[in-house]
Symmetry: C2
Subunit: 185 residues, 2 copies
DNA sequence: GCTTACCTACCTATCGTCAGGTAGAATTAT
DNA sequence: ATAATTCTACCTGACGATAGGTAGGTAAGC
Protein backbone atom coordinates (compact mmCIF):
# COMPACT_ATOMS: atom_id res chain seq x y z
CA UNK A 1 0.00 0.00 0.00
CA UNK A 2 1.24 3.49 -0.84
CA UNK A 3 2.75 5.43 2.04
CA UNK A 4 0.22 7.67 3.73
CA UNK A 5 -2.65 5.97 1.95
CA UNK A 6 -4.14 4.38 5.04
CA UNK A 7 -3.86 7.61 6.93
CA UNK A 8 -5.76 9.37 4.19
CA UNK A 9 -8.41 6.66 4.14
CA UNK A 10 -8.87 7.04 7.89
CA UNK A 11 -9.29 10.77 7.59
CA UNK A 12 -11.69 10.54 4.68
CA UNK A 13 -13.90 7.98 6.40
CA UNK A 14 -13.76 9.81 9.71
CA UNK A 15 -14.76 13.05 8.09
CA UNK A 16 -17.85 11.53 6.56
CA UNK A 17 -18.85 9.94 9.85
CA UNK A 18 -18.35 13.13 11.86
CA UNK A 19 -20.32 15.14 9.32
CA UNK A 20 -23.20 12.74 9.92
CA UNK A 21 -22.99 11.58 13.52
CA UNK A 22 -20.71 14.14 15.06
CA UNK A 23 -17.42 13.82 16.88
CA UNK A 24 -19.11 11.89 19.70
CA UNK A 25 -20.60 9.53 17.17
CA UNK A 26 -17.19 8.65 15.78
CA UNK A 27 -15.87 5.36 17.13
CA UNK A 28 -12.50 3.78 16.46
CA UNK A 29 -14.05 0.37 15.90
CA UNK A 30 -16.55 1.50 13.29
CA UNK A 31 -14.01 3.73 11.66
CA UNK A 32 -11.56 0.85 11.43
CA UNK A 33 -14.24 -1.31 9.86
CA UNK A 34 -14.92 1.38 7.24
CA UNK A 35 -11.24 1.55 6.36
CA UNK A 36 -10.65 -2.19 6.51
CA UNK A 37 -8.20 -2.33 9.39
CA UNK A 38 -8.38 -3.01 13.14
CA UNK A 39 -9.19 -0.30 15.62
CA UNK A 40 -5.83 -0.52 17.36
CA UNK A 41 -4.13 0.32 14.07
CA UNK A 42 -5.71 3.76 13.98
CA UNK A 43 -3.62 4.62 17.03
CA UNK A 44 -0.58 4.05 14.87
CA UNK A 45 -1.53 7.19 12.94
CA UNK A 46 -3.45 9.14 15.56
CA UNK A 47 -2.39 8.63 19.17
CA UNK A 48 -5.86 9.43 20.50
CA UNK A 49 -9.28 10.62 19.49
CA UNK A 50 -8.61 14.26 20.22
CA UNK A 51 -5.63 14.20 17.93
CA UNK A 52 -7.68 12.63 15.15
CA UNK A 53 -10.46 15.15 15.66
CA UNK A 54 -8.02 18.04 15.53
CA UNK A 55 -6.37 16.74 12.38
CA UNK A 56 -9.79 16.25 10.82
CA UNK A 57 -10.90 19.79 11.47
CA UNK A 58 -7.58 21.25 10.36
CA UNK A 59 -7.73 19.37 7.10
CA UNK A 60 -11.35 20.31 6.57
CA UNK A 61 -10.46 23.96 6.99
CA UNK A 62 -7.49 23.72 4.64
CA UNK A 63 -9.46 21.90 1.93
CA UNK A 64 -12.32 24.35 2.11
CA UNK A 65 -9.95 27.31 2.05
CA UNK A 66 -8.25 25.94 -1.04
CA UNK A 67 -11.57 25.62 -2.80
CA UNK A 68 -12.68 29.09 -1.76
CA UNK A 69 -9.45 30.73 -2.88
CA UNK A 70 -10.07 29.15 -6.27
CA UNK A 71 -13.54 30.67 -6.36
CA UNK A 72 -12.17 34.09 -5.54
CA UNK A 73 -9.49 33.72 -8.20
CA UNK A 74 -12.12 32.92 -10.82
CA UNK A 75 -14.56 35.73 -10.24
CA UNK A 76 -14.69 39.27 -8.96
CA UNK A 77 -18.43 39.33 -8.39
CA UNK A 78 -19.30 39.07 -4.70
CA UNK A 79 -22.76 37.67 -5.42
CA UNK A 80 -21.37 34.93 -7.64
CA UNK A 81 -18.62 34.05 -5.17
CA UNK A 82 -20.95 33.85 -2.22
CA UNK A 83 -23.41 31.82 -4.26
CA UNK A 84 -20.67 29.26 -4.73
CA UNK A 85 -19.94 29.46 -1.02
CA UNK A 86 -23.57 28.71 -0.17
CA UNK A 87 -23.62 25.92 -2.75
CA UNK A 88 -20.95 24.05 -0.83
CA UNK A 89 -23.19 23.87 2.23
CA UNK A 90 -26.04 22.82 -0.01
CA UNK A 91 -24.01 20.01 -1.53
CA UNK A 92 -23.08 18.80 1.94
CA UNK A 93 -26.76 18.53 2.82
CA UNK A 94 -27.44 16.64 -0.37
CA UNK A 95 -24.71 14.19 0.60
CA UNK A 96 -27.03 12.14 2.83
CA UNK A 97 -28.12 15.06 4.96
CA UNK A 98 -24.63 15.73 6.21
CA UNK A 99 -23.48 18.87 7.98
CA UNK A 100 -20.52 21.15 7.80
CA UNK A 101 -17.83 19.69 10.06
CA UNK A 102 -17.38 23.02 11.78
CA UNK A 103 -21.10 23.38 12.40
CA UNK A 104 -21.71 19.97 13.88
CA UNK A 105 -18.58 20.26 16.02
CA UNK A 106 -19.68 23.69 17.22
CA UNK A 107 -22.82 22.10 18.59
CA UNK A 108 -20.68 19.53 20.39
CA UNK A 109 -18.53 22.27 21.89
CA UNK A 110 -18.70 21.09 25.50
CA UNK A 111 -17.79 17.51 24.58
CA UNK A 112 -14.73 18.50 22.58
CA UNK A 113 -11.07 18.27 23.63
CA UNK A 114 -9.36 21.65 23.60
CA UNK A 115 -7.33 20.83 20.51
CA UNK A 116 -10.51 20.19 18.54
CA UNK A 117 -12.27 23.27 19.87
CA UNK A 118 -9.39 25.43 18.73
CA UNK A 119 -9.62 24.06 15.22
CA UNK A 120 -13.36 24.69 15.13
CA UNK A 121 -12.76 28.32 15.99
CA UNK A 122 -10.10 28.54 13.29
CA UNK A 123 -12.51 27.08 10.77
CA UNK A 124 -15.00 29.82 11.57
CA UNK A 125 -12.35 32.49 11.36
CA UNK A 126 -11.26 31.27 7.95
CA UNK A 127 -14.85 31.39 6.70
CA UNK A 128 -15.35 34.92 7.98
CA UNK A 129 -12.02 36.06 6.54
CA UNK A 130 -12.93 34.73 3.13
CA UNK A 131 -16.44 36.17 3.19
CA UNK A 132 -14.99 39.54 4.13
CA UNK A 133 -12.68 39.37 1.13
CA UNK A 134 -15.57 38.44 -1.14
CA UNK A 135 -17.75 41.25 0.20
CA UNK A 136 -14.91 43.73 -0.27
CA UNK A 137 -14.91 43.11 -4.01
CA UNK A 138 -17.56 45.74 -4.10
CA UNK A 139 -15.89 49.07 -3.45
CA UNK A 140 -18.81 50.64 -1.61
CA UNK A 141 -19.14 47.74 0.80
CA UNK A 142 -19.39 48.73 4.46
CA UNK A 143 -19.51 46.99 7.85
CA UNK A 144 -17.74 44.15 6.10
CA UNK A 145 -16.32 42.17 9.04
CA UNK A 146 -19.62 42.04 10.92
CA UNK A 147 -21.56 41.24 7.82
CA UNK A 148 -19.16 38.43 6.95
CA UNK A 149 -19.61 36.96 10.41
CA UNK A 150 -23.38 37.25 10.08
CA UNK A 151 -23.45 35.51 6.72
CA UNK A 152 -21.34 32.65 8.06
CA UNK A 153 -23.66 32.21 11.06
CA UNK A 154 -26.76 32.49 8.91
CA UNK A 155 -25.57 29.85 6.46
CA UNK A 156 -24.64 27.48 9.28
CA UNK A 157 -28.09 28.02 10.78
CA UNK A 158 -29.80 27.39 7.46
CA UNK A 159 -27.98 24.10 7.14
CA UNK A 160 -28.82 23.12 10.70
CA UNK A 161 -32.52 23.81 10.30
CA UNK A 162 -32.73 22.15 6.88
CA UNK A 163 -30.97 19.08 8.23
CA UNK A 164 -33.43 18.76 11.09
CA UNK A 165 -36.20 18.75 8.48
CA UNK A 166 -34.26 16.39 6.21
CA UNK A 167 -35.14 18.66 3.30
CA UNK A 168 -32.67 20.53 1.10
CA UNK A 169 -35.43 22.75 -0.27
CA UNK A 170 -35.72 24.26 3.21
CA UNK A 171 -32.09 25.34 2.87
CA UNK A 172 -32.83 26.86 -0.52
CA UNK A 173 -35.83 28.76 0.82
CA UNK A 174 -33.84 30.18 3.72
CA UNK A 175 -30.88 31.28 1.61
CA UNK A 176 -33.28 32.84 -0.87
CA UNK A 177 -34.83 34.81 1.98
CA UNK A 178 -31.36 35.91 3.10
CA UNK A 179 -30.81 37.31 -0.38
CA UNK A 180 -34.20 38.96 -0.48
CA UNK A 181 -33.50 40.70 2.81
CA UNK A 182 -30.15 41.99 1.66
CA UNK A 183 -28.06 40.04 4.17
CA UNK A 184 -26.52 37.94 1.40
CA UNK A 185 -25.54 39.68 -1.85
CA UNK B 1 -42.35 14.32 48.33
CA UNK B 2 -45.13 15.98 46.36
CA UNK B 3 -46.60 13.92 43.55
CA UNK B 4 -44.91 14.63 40.23
CA UNK B 5 -42.09 16.47 41.93
CA UNK B 6 -39.40 13.93 41.07
CA UNK B 7 -40.57 13.75 37.49
CA UNK B 8 -40.25 17.50 37.21
CA UNK B 9 -36.80 17.45 38.77
CA UNK B 10 -35.69 14.85 36.25
CA UNK B 11 -36.96 16.92 33.35
CA UNK B 12 -35.41 20.13 34.65
CA UNK B 13 -32.00 18.55 35.20
CA UNK B 14 -32.13 16.67 31.90
CA UNK B 15 -32.98 19.83 30.00
CA UNK B 16 -29.95 21.64 31.37
CA UNK B 17 -27.67 18.74 30.54
CA UNK B 18 -28.98 18.36 26.99
CA UNK B 19 -28.65 22.10 26.37
CA UNK B 20 -25.00 21.75 27.28
CA UNK B 21 -23.87 18.28 26.23
CA UNK B 22 -26.61 17.24 23.83
CA UNK B 23 -28.97 14.30 23.81
CA UNK B 24 -26.05 11.90 23.36
CA UNK B 25 -24.32 13.48 26.32
CA UNK B 26 -27.26 12.77 28.59
CA UNK B 27 -26.71 9.70 30.75
CA UNK B 28 -29.19 8.12 33.14
CA UNK B 29 -26.56 7.68 35.82
CA UNK B 30 -25.40 11.29 35.81
CA UNK B 31 -28.93 12.53 35.54
CA UNK B 32 -29.94 10.40 38.51
CA UNK B 33 -27.04 11.80 40.50
CA UNK B 34 -28.17 15.35 39.71
CA UNK B 35 -31.67 14.58 40.91
CA UNK B 36 -30.61 12.54 43.94
CA UNK B 37 -32.04 9.16 42.97
CA UNK B 38 -30.74 6.00 41.32
CA UNK B 39 -30.60 5.63 37.57
CA UNK B 40 -33.07 2.74 37.49
CA UNK B 41 -35.66 4.97 39.12
CA UNK B 42 -35.75 7.24 36.10
CA UNK B 43 -37.28 4.35 34.18
CA UNK B 44 -40.20 4.53 36.56
CA UNK B 45 -41.10 7.87 34.97
CA UNK B 46 -39.65 7.47 31.48
CA UNK B 47 -39.58 3.94 30.04
CA UNK B 48 -36.53 4.68 27.89
CA UNK B 49 -34.22 7.43 26.75
CA UNK B 50 -36.17 8.19 23.60
CA UNK B 51 -39.28 8.75 25.63
CA UNK B 52 -37.44 11.10 27.96
CA UNK B 53 -35.94 12.97 25.04
CA UNK B 54 -39.32 13.35 23.40
CA UNK B 55 -40.92 14.59 26.59
CA UNK B 56 -38.06 17.03 27.07
CA UNK B 57 -38.41 18.56 23.63
CA UNK B 58 -42.19 18.70 23.86
CA UNK B 59 -42.00 20.53 27.17
CA UNK B 60 -39.32 22.87 25.88
CA UNK B 61 -41.53 23.79 22.93
CA UNK B 62 -44.58 24.32 25.14
CA UNK B 63 -42.71 26.47 27.66
CA UNK B 64 -41.17 28.62 24.96
CA UNK B 65 -44.48 28.98 23.18
CA UNK B 66 -46.13 30.13 26.40
CA UNK B 67 -43.48 32.77 26.89
CA UNK B 68 -43.69 33.95 23.29
CA UNK B 69 -47.47 34.23 23.37
CA UNK B 70 -47.05 36.47 26.36
CA UNK B 71 -44.64 38.66 24.43
CA UNK B 72 -47.09 38.98 21.56
CA UNK B 73 -49.89 39.81 23.98
CA UNK B 74 -47.85 42.62 25.50
CA UNK B 75 -46.71 44.41 22.37
CA UNK B 76 -47.78 45.03 18.80
CA UNK B 77 -44.38 46.15 17.58
CA UNK B 78 -42.66 43.48 15.50
CA UNK B 79 -39.21 44.84 16.24
CA UNK B 80 -39.79 44.83 19.98
CA UNK B 81 -41.29 41.32 19.92
CA UNK B 82 -38.48 39.87 17.87
CA UNK B 83 -35.94 41.60 20.07
CA UNK B 84 -37.40 39.70 23.01
CA UNK B 85 -37.27 36.54 20.91
CA UNK B 86 -33.58 37.02 20.21
CA UNK B 87 -32.96 37.85 23.85
CA UNK B 88 -34.11 34.37 24.87
CA UNK B 89 -31.36 32.80 22.79
CA UNK B 90 -28.93 35.30 24.23
CA UNK B 91 -29.90 34.41 27.78
CA UNK B 92 -29.42 30.73 27.00
CA UNK B 93 -25.86 31.43 25.87
CA UNK B 94 -25.23 33.40 29.03
CA UNK B 95 -26.39 30.41 31.02
CA UNK B 96 -22.99 28.71 30.88
CA UNK B 97 -22.74 28.76 27.11
CA UNK B 98 -25.83 26.60 26.68
CA UNK B 99 -27.74 26.13 23.45
CA UNK B 100 -31.34 26.05 22.42
CA UNK B 101 -32.57 22.50 22.91
CA UNK B 102 -33.98 22.44 19.40
CA UNK B 103 -30.72 23.65 17.92
CA UNK B 104 -28.42 21.21 19.64
CA UNK B 105 -30.80 18.34 18.93
CA UNK B 106 -30.99 19.36 15.27
CA UNK B 107 -27.24 18.89 15.04
CA UNK B 108 -27.67 15.42 16.56
CA UNK B 109 -30.33 14.56 14.02
CA UNK B 110 -28.88 11.24 12.88
CA UNK B 111 -28.42 10.00 16.45
CA UNK B 112 -31.98 10.76 17.50
CA UNK B 113 -34.86 8.30 17.92
CA UNK B 114 -37.79 9.13 15.63
CA UNK B 115 -39.93 10.37 18.51
CA UNK B 116 -37.30 12.96 19.41
CA UNK B 117 -36.73 14.01 15.80
CA UNK B 118 -40.43 14.69 15.40
CA UNK B 119 -40.44 16.96 18.41
CA UNK B 120 -37.43 18.86 17.11
CA UNK B 121 -39.28 19.54 13.87
CA UNK B 122 -42.33 20.68 15.84
CA UNK B 123 -40.16 23.04 17.86
CA UNK B 124 -38.93 24.65 14.67
CA UNK B 125 -42.43 24.91 13.27
CA UNK B 126 -43.64 26.64 16.40
CA UNK B 127 -40.81 29.16 16.19
CA UNK B 128 -41.55 29.92 12.56
CA UNK B 129 -45.29 30.19 13.23
CA UNK B 130 -44.71 32.69 15.99
CA UNK B 131 -42.18 34.73 14.02
CA UNK B 132 -44.66 34.89 11.14
CA UNK B 133 -47.31 36.23 13.50
CA UNK B 134 -44.88 38.81 14.86
CA UNK B 135 -43.83 39.92 11.37
CA UNK B 136 -47.46 40.20 10.32
CA UNK B 137 -48.07 42.88 12.91
CA UNK B 138 -46.85 45.26 10.25
CA UNK B 139 -49.58 45.49 7.65
CA UNK B 140 -47.25 45.92 4.68
CA UNK B 141 -45.18 42.88 5.56
CA UNK B 142 -44.53 40.53 2.66
CA UNK B 143 -42.92 37.13 2.10
CA UNK B 144 -43.70 36.52 5.75
CA UNK B 145 -43.45 32.71 5.97
CA UNK B 146 -40.07 32.52 4.26
CA UNK B 147 -38.72 35.44 6.20
CA UNK B 148 -39.87 33.89 9.47
CA UNK B 149 -38.08 30.67 8.58
CA UNK B 150 -34.96 32.63 7.68
CA UNK B 151 -34.94 34.54 10.96
CA UNK B 152 -35.29 31.31 12.92
CA UNK B 153 -32.40 29.71 11.06
CA UNK B 154 -30.26 32.82 11.35
CA UNK B 155 -30.78 33.10 15.10
CA UNK B 156 -29.98 29.42 15.61
CA UNK B 157 -26.84 29.90 13.55
CA UNK B 158 -25.82 32.95 15.53
CA UNK B 159 -26.14 30.99 18.75
CA UNK B 160 -24.18 28.07 17.32
CA UNK B 161 -21.29 30.23 16.17
CA UNK B 162 -21.20 32.29 19.35
CA UNK B 163 -21.16 29.12 21.42
CA UNK B 164 -18.21 27.74 19.50
CA UNK B 165 -16.37 30.94 20.36
CA UNK B 166 -17.62 30.91 23.94
CA UNK B 167 -18.42 34.58 23.61
CA UNK B 168 -21.88 36.14 23.92
CA UNK B 169 -20.68 39.35 22.30
CA UNK B 170 -20.26 37.39 19.08
CA UNK B 171 -23.98 36.63 19.23
CA UNK B 172 -24.73 40.30 19.77
CA UNK B 173 -22.57 41.35 16.83
CA UNK B 174 -24.25 38.84 14.51
CA UNK B 175 -27.79 39.78 15.50
CA UNK B 176 -26.88 43.44 15.12
CA UNK B 177 -25.69 42.71 11.58
CA UNK B 178 -28.96 40.87 10.87
CA UNK B 179 -30.80 44.01 11.85
CA UNK B 180 -28.52 46.25 9.83
CA UNK B 181 -29.13 44.12 6.75
CA UNK B 182 -32.89 44.23 7.15
CA UNK B 183 -33.34 40.50 7.76
CA UNK B 184 -34.45 41.12 11.33
CA UNK B 185 -36.77 44.08 12.00
C1' DG C 1 18.77 -5.11 12.31
C1' DC C 2 15.71 -1.64 12.55
C1' DT C 3 11.54 0.66 11.16
C1' DT C 4 6.90 0.61 9.42
C1' DA C 5 2.49 -1.09 9.42
C1' DC C 6 -0.25 -3.59 11.00
C1' DC C 7 -2.22 -7.48 14.26
C1' DT C 8 -4.33 -10.13 18.65
C1' DA C 9 -5.79 -9.77 23.03
C1' DC C 10 -6.99 -7.38 26.64
C1' DC C 11 -8.14 -3.46 30.14
C1' DT C 12 -11.14 -0.28 32.47
C1' DA C 13 -15.05 2.65 32.17
C1' DT C 14 -19.53 3.68 30.83
C1' DC C 15 -23.77 3.00 28.46
C1' DG C 16 -29.14 1.93 28.42
C1' DT C 17 -31.92 -1.41 30.27
C1' DC C 18 -34.05 -4.82 33.19
C1' DA C 19 -35.41 -8.30 36.80
C1' DG C 20 -36.65 -8.43 41.10
C1' DG C 21 -37.16 -6.55 45.77
C1' DT C 22 -39.02 -3.39 49.51
C1' DA C 23 -41.23 0.08 52.51
C1' DG C 24 -45.14 2.58 52.89
C1' DA C 25 -49.35 4.70 51.24
C1' DA C 26 -53.83 3.94 49.28
C1' DT C 27 -57.60 1.20 48.19
C1' DT C 28 -60.79 -2.48 48.61
C1' DA C 29 -63.17 -6.49 50.90
C1' DT C 30 -65.01 -8.49 54.75
C1' DA D 1 -62.65 -1.43 61.92
C1' DT D 2 -59.60 -4.41 60.35
C1' DA D 3 -57.44 -7.37 57.21
C1' DA D 4 -56.04 -8.22 52.45
C1' DT D 5 -54.59 -6.39 48.38
C1' DT D 6 -52.59 -3.36 45.16
C1' DC D 7 -50.08 0.66 43.81
C1' DT D 8 -46.22 4.12 44.15
C1' DA D 9 -41.71 5.25 44.40
C1' DC D 10 -37.96 4.01 44.85
C1' DC D 11 -33.83 0.48 45.55
C1' DT D 12 -29.81 -3.31 44.53
C1' DG D 13 -27.43 -5.59 41.34
C1' DA D 14 -26.68 -7.22 37.29
C1' DC D 15 -26.82 -7.81 31.80
C1' DG D 16 -24.63 -7.36 27.25
C1' DA D 17 -22.81 -3.85 24.35
C1' DT D 18 -19.63 -0.46 23.35
C1' DA D 19 -16.22 3.12 24.36
C1' DG D 20 -11.07 4.74 24.05
C1' DG D 21 -6.80 3.03 24.91
C1' DT D 22 -2.57 -0.15 25.53
C1' DA D 23 0.95 -3.93 25.68
C1' DG D 24 3.15 -6.76 23.01
C1' DG D 25 3.61 -9.63 18.88
C1' DT D 26 4.40 -10.38 13.75
C1' DA D 27 5.53 -9.93 9.01
C1' DA D 28 7.44 -7.23 5.36
C1' DG D 29 10.75 -3.83 3.45
C1' DC D 30 14.94 -1.16 3.60
Amino acid sequence: MTAGDTREKIMAAARLTVQDRGYSGLSFRELAKDVGIKSASIHHYFPNKGNLGGALARRYTADFEDYLEGVLAGSSDPAACIRKYADVFRTTLQNQNRMCLGGIMAAEHSELPAEVRDEVVKFGEMNVRWLAKALSLRKDADAVPHRALAIFAAIEGAQLVARSRGDVSVYDAIVQAYRASGLVP
